[in-house]
Amino acid sequence: MINRFNKYKYSSPATFYGLAGRLIPWFYGAAALFCMAGLYIGLVLAPTDFQQSEAYRIIFIHVPAAWMSMFIYVVMAFWAALGLAFNTRMSFMMASALAPTGAMLTFVSLWTGALWGKPTWGAWWVWDARLTSELILFFLYLGFMALQAAIDDPRRADRAGALIALVGVVNVPIIYFSVRWWNTLHQGASVSMTKAPSMASIMLVGMLVMALAAWMYTIAAALSRARCIILERERNAQWVAQMLEAEA
């Protein structure tokens, strides 16, 4: 109890558990608000595209999901690296908490991509560099989750999972730059840091608002999954007993 105020305070599962519990409703609320605003902009305000008619509206789901699928993997790898370097339990738990949401959003980006590809390219799927590397990302998420589930000892499961997360992260820049490095059917980036976006600004705003919604949702889901993992792993710890008795 003497070292209550130490530098590890916020990496302690007990502190994290309470803090996350207070933050989750706010992130879910923000996600719902951004989602409603984004859907209104995307489905009502944004005009019909002169080339793709209404099919282009898939962009409001597809692009935010694809961005998040890559970003979540990088964050997961970051926590895995931190866990390996400093052996902090909370880091590994955060990596595990992010994986299912990342896998779900990767699937969403592949699924909406197929539904967009059919009317615009005439094919549900092509073995193009962008699509293939995104599919590999999906398998990396599934591999991470399967490996962790297959190992009984949580410490070994954490380390094995962290290894997949770290090795697999090289795939993320491959996905991102695939449209530049190879001749792909998938179009290049419509939004970049260096030049003006090649789309109507109302469409861009809708896409960014939906991306914010996806971001808020991911944080809420990952925090609440992390809380479940903490309860499972720390159920022998005294603070869990004290907390549950205080609530009962």
Partner: protein, 64 residues
Amino acid sequence: MNWHSWSEFFYMGGYALYVWGSFGVTAILVAGEILLLRSHRQKALELALNTVKYGKVKNDENET
């Protein structure tokens, strides 16, 4: 406003299957994950409660 009627909105210029297939499946997956998280939380709470009741509670020394 782009739409003149609800039926025109749902028709999506003939791309209803693709547009609503994208938005619909995404909504189902997100709702499904929220439900899964809820049941995960119930199970984790039950497990912790049972451990507190029947299992031994040890002092947690390495609180990092």
